[in-house]
């Protein structure tokens, strides 16, 4: 089966892999919207959506549990968004108004291609990352494409031709510019450390994970422990980049009605949100890869040694099979991503929204100097260590 799959022509294989990843990202992004509602409800001491259950599915064992978790509600919402009337306001620029949600989806799904989501142990104990395209520019490609997502917000704000979406779009662009800088500067120490002098340079995310799975105390430590300030700045900037509370200036329903999506409804509106959650998933994946050890289960426990320990414990050679290793690594990374997304939601329902001037102040006067100081300190430290 595996051999047959691998024997397919390269374009077909690439299409299949791409479809598989999209088939995972889309439902997870959709499920995140329900998870958001449930987490919100639990934090506010409510049960949350737990009523919807189509009678034709009621006989299925476990349907009641899904009902309590709001899964049927999610499906009903999805169906509603798909089939409800899509009003096109008279005052909008029709072409760009329709284009904006599509443009939101494109970068959100494009960044997925360069993010490695797992690894298997190939010939000679070499770790081979699983990614749609394992390019060497890695993190650079993620940043470059993810920043394009902001165009959809600006376009939506401008094409809506009304004041609140316009303000939302302006805020979105200003906020992205303010936090992009700190985000880039925050990850630089990681790549300074990963790219030792003399070795071939690489910005690949898989390389970073490899570095977090080396033996020894310092080798096995996740970058979260060795570079806490970087991780913190990156996380804060990630909140701002994905327009999540406490930085959701573009949406800011308290002062901008709905921000950039005020004039949107039905499926176009939901596309914006699937894109937002897809961005969150990719952002969380990048954070997990950079700072949380990627597909290593625990700090100081790399994937390879975990599989070997399982092999010794159960006596089954199955654990060393590349397919099993790949599945385990994907599951570990997915678990970390979901945990990070939960933290996103947890923060959203805890912290009140910053004022716009506070957002700018934090971005330029606090985070940027902090990340520059952090970069200089680590650059000096790494230069001394790797001399």
């Amino acid at each position: 089966m595996v051999d047959m799959l691998l024997g397919l022509p390269a374009p077909v294989l690439a299409l299949l892999k791409g479809a598989a990843v999209i088939l995972v990202i889309f439902p997870v992004a959709a499920a995140c919207s329900m998870a958001e509602r449930k987490v919100c409800a639990w934090i506010q001491s409510r049960p949350g959506p737990n009523r919807a259950l189509p009678p034709i599915f009621a006989w299925i064992p476990g349907a009641g549990i899904l009902q309590r978790l709001g899964v049927w509600q999610l499906m009903a919402d999805g169906g509603k968004f798909l089939f409800k009337e899509e009003p096109l306001p008279d005052h909008v620029n029709r072409l760009y108004y329709t284009l904006a949600p599509v443009i939101a989806m494109v970068p959100a799904l494009t960044t997925v291609t360069v993010v490695p989501f797992g690894a298997y142990i190939g010939a000679g104990g070499r770790i081979v990352p699983l990614a749609l395209s394992s390019v060497d520019v890695g993190i650079l490609a993620v940043f470059a494409v993810a920043s394009l997502g902001i165009y959809s917000l600006i376009l939506a704000g401008w094409a809506s031709n009304s004041k609140y979406p316009f303000l939302g779009g302006v805020r979105a662009s200003a906020q992205l510019i303010s936090y992009e800088l700190s985000m880039m500067l925050a990850v630089l120490p990681v790549f300074l450390w990963v790219n030792e002098p003399g070795a071939a340079g690489s910005l690949s995310l898989a390389r970073v994970v490899e570095f977090q799975s080396r033996p020894g105390f310092w080798g096995g430590a996740w970058f979260l422990f060795t570079m806490p300030v970087s991780a913190f700045v990156f996380a804060v900037a990630l909140f701002a980049e994905t327009n999540r509370q406490p930085f959701d200036m573009p949406e800011s329903e308290a002062d901008l009605v709905g921000g950039f999506h005020t004039e949107y409804g039905a499926f176009k509106w939901s596309l914006f949100f699937v894109a937002e959650y897809a961005n969150m998933i990719v952002g969380s994946a990048v954070f997990s890869l950079l700072f949380l050890g990627g597909w290593n289960v625990l700090p100081w426990v790399p994937l390879a040694s975990l599989l070997e320990a399982l092999h010794h414990l159960t006596g089954s050679a199955l654990w060393l099979h590349p397919l099993v290793a790949g599945l385990v690594s994907v599951a570990v990374l997915l678990g970390k991503v979901l945990l990070t997304i939960f933290v996103f939601m947890w923060v959203r329902w805890t912290v009140p929204r910053f004022r716009y001037d506070q957002v700018m102040k934090i971005g330029w006067q606090k985070l940027l100097p902090l990340s520059i100081a952090n970069l200089i300190a680590y650059a000096v430290g790494i230069a001394l260590l790797q001399r």
């Binding site: 639990w42 934090i43 001491s45 409510r46 049960p47 947890w346 923060v347």
Partner: protein
């Protein structure tokens, strides 16, 4: 009024980073996240109704099964939103309550007008109308939202009575005492 001068201390460095406060807030929300829900899942779980609750107004019978209302129309006159409409009638023949002067022929309470003020209960000299525990009242049309006499008695049921005013009066009349 005394003026209290509040000393505003400048924020410490830790406070200016917001982080300890955010951590504390997240601990609070985590406790709520893991704790039980404060809400009630309404149609299955019902709230406990405290005594003295003013629900839907109803008509009650006395323990002998006699309708207590004598259609004096005081409630109709006192009702601020004019929700009550009574058509007075005579006491049904042969029910053994001929000594009571009157009974309502029709008794309608328009629940779209009722404001649940309880003045009807307060004003009733016969203790015949009570605002009881029913709090949910719904219907598909305006006419459905008008409670007629039979519905009012169905909702009201029988309440204990310590006076038996009309029985006492009848006994007094027959025994030649006062009255």
């Amino acid at each position: 009024m005394a003026v209290i001068q509040v000393q505003r201390t400048p924020l410490s460095l830790a406070e200016r980073t917001y982080l300890p406060q955010i951590m504390g807030a997240m601990w609070t929300t985590l406790k709520h996240l893991l704790g039980p829900a404060d809400t009630m899942e309404y149609p299955e779980q019902r709230p406990a109704i405290p005594p003295g609750y003013r629900g839907v107004p109803t008509l009650v019978r006395d323990p002998n099964g006699r309708e207590k209302c004598v259609s004096c129309q005081l409630c109709e006159f006192v009702c601020p939103p004019k929700a009550i409409r009574i058509t007075p009638g005579s006491v049904p023949e042969g029910a053994g309550v001929d000594h009571v002067e009157k009974a309502p022929q029709a008794f309608d309470i328009d629940m779209l007008r009722c404001i649940y003020c309880g003045l009807c209960e307060e004003v009733c000299p016969e203790e015949a109308i009570f605002l009881q525990r029913q709090y949910s009242m719904s219907g598909y049309s305006r006419t459905e939202m008008v409670n007629h006499k039979d519905r009012l008695y169905e909702l009201g049921g029988t309440l204990p009575d310590s006076h038996f005013k009309w029985d006492v009066k009848k006994a007094a009349e027959e025994g030649g005492g006062r009255h």
